[in-house]
């Protein structure tokens, strides 16, 4: 144990002693007890470990904890459960393994709807893999949170996210 990292976590200050090689994902789960953030692939592919780092979604499996010193980190635990309504209504969750990461990215899109001038919801959600829902429900849930008609399951369907 040879490194102390101080940062802002879900709005409050934390200071935690970590091993040098530690990933942010492991610091959050095993030192700070925030097990809402999941590990899927461990190679930055699936997005299950998505957290916000200084306001942007990142894969916490690819962030060395020493890099968040002085930074602002937000995890799924910081979100208001009421924001989950559209995900439940649209069938955007099933087994739940990907859901924390999906919700983090989806609500980030909702909070930055100006991105939809240049990007589709599908492009912005491409870093979150879900093996259950087929994505249409997820895309519709995002559309619902920003008050727009979905580009997913309702009406026209794009052929594939990939």
């Amino acid at each position: 144990m040879s490194l102390t990292v101080a940062f802002t976590l879900n709005g409050g200050p934390v200071s935690v002693a970590v091993e040098e090689p530690e990933r942010l994902l492991d610091t959050l789960r095993y030192r700070l007890g925030l097990t809402g953030t999941k590990e899927g692939c461990g190679e930055g592919e699936c997005g299950a470990c998505t957290v916000y780092l200084d306001g942007l979604p990142v894969n916490s499996c690819l962030v060395p904890t020493y890099q968040v010193r002085g930074a602002r980190v937000e995890t799924i635990e910081a979100l208001d459960p009421d924001q989950l309504g559209p995900f439940l209504e649209q069938g955007a969750t099933q087994c739940g393994a990907c859901t924390p990461g999906v919700v983090m990215t989806a609500l980030w899109i909702s909070a930055h709807s100006e991105l939809l001038e240049t990007h589709t919801v599908r492009e912005l959600m491409a870093g979150n893999l879900c093996r259950c829902t087929g994505y249409d429900g997820i895309v519709d849930a995002v559309a619902t949170t920003i008050g727009e008609v979905g580009e997913g399951g309702t009406g026209k369907r794009e052929s594939t996210a990939g």
Partner: protein, 275 residues
């Protein structure tokens, strides 16, 4: 494992000079893949660059655009001015992983990771990028198309840091970036191509077609001296002279050559007046 935390550029250069084998860490996206099981990597010394604010923003002058050593893909995607003048940078950045990778991955990291399948390097090379290397001994500039000397080998000494990437500002009359992968998102290129045309001439850059990303001089010559072509296969001799693809887990050499010929032909038949 030892982590050296640099807060300023000179400090980082001093740390790299003091430990001849230290590895600079920018966004970490290449370094941390499967990190827990890559125990051999845990014995190394790392210099963390993430607090070097001076290296983050892109800068403009009358004559050039300069990306910082820590400029990320997302920084470029959100920069409307870069999108107007260097649209291929934005197009390529949007094909790198997804937002979670784009937010962390850096252009300089893409250069020094030296993957033959990199998405960022082809467009940098097609815009005549120059790599600015700095060490405690001074500054050196290497044109990106002369930076790689072999597979994962490059003209960067262990004590040098990529502090900037410079591009001349020029009007481009033609520019295109193509990435062929197994799927549209989150894929690694089977074939990547960046093509530009300006007063400086044609630039044709291929990815996943050789041990390094490289320019294709035979194809560039064929474009400079208008040559009437009748079919994609007419490009194969020039392709054979420019690149040397291999069979690997993502594709075959034969498929890569044919895809490169077809994609180039389709893109260039209009601007070159081929049938």
């Amino acid at each position: 494992m030892k982590v050296l935390l640099a807060e300023r550029v000179p400090e980082a250069l001093g740390l790299l000079a003091g430990d001849g084998a230290a590895i600079p860490v920018a966004g970490g996206t290449d370094l941390l893949v499967h990190w827990p099981v890559r125990v051999e990597a845990h014995d190394r010394t790392y210099v963390d660059l993430s607090r070097l604010e001076d290296l983050k923003p892109p800068r403009w002058s009358d004559r050039e655009l300069v990306l910082g050593g820590l400029t990320t893909y997302w920084d470029v995607i959100r920069d409307e001015r870069i999108g107007r003048e260097f649209p291929l940078l934005v197009r390529a950045a949007r094909q790198v992983g997804a937002i979670q990778i784009q937010a962390r991955g850096t252009w300089a990291g893409n250069i020094v990771n030296a993957s033959p399948a990199a998405d960022g390097v082809p467009v940098l090379m097609a815009y005549d990028a120059v790599v600015v290397l700095e060490s405690w001994r001074g500054r050196e500039e290497v044109p990106l198309d002369r930076f790689y000397t072999g597979y994962k080998e490059m003209r960067r000494r262990a004590d040098q840091l990529v502090v900037a990437i410079r591009f001349p500002r020029r009007p481009y009359s033609y520019q295109v970036f193509e990435k062929v992968g197994s799927r549209r998102a989150q894929a690694i290129a089977k074939v990547g191509l960046a093509v530009t045309r300006s007063d400086a001439g044609w630039r044709v850059v291929a990815a996943s077609m050789a041990p390094t990303i490289r320019r294709c001089p035979a194809i560039e010559r064929l474009l400079e001296v208008p040559t009437p072509l009748r079919a994609p296969d007419d490009l194969l001799p020039a392709i054979a002279s420019d690149v040397a693809p291999i069979d690997d887990l993502r594709s075959t050499a034969e498929y890569r050559r044919r895809v490169m010929a077809r994609v180039l032909y389709d893109d260039l038949r209009g601007p070159c007046g081929w049938r």
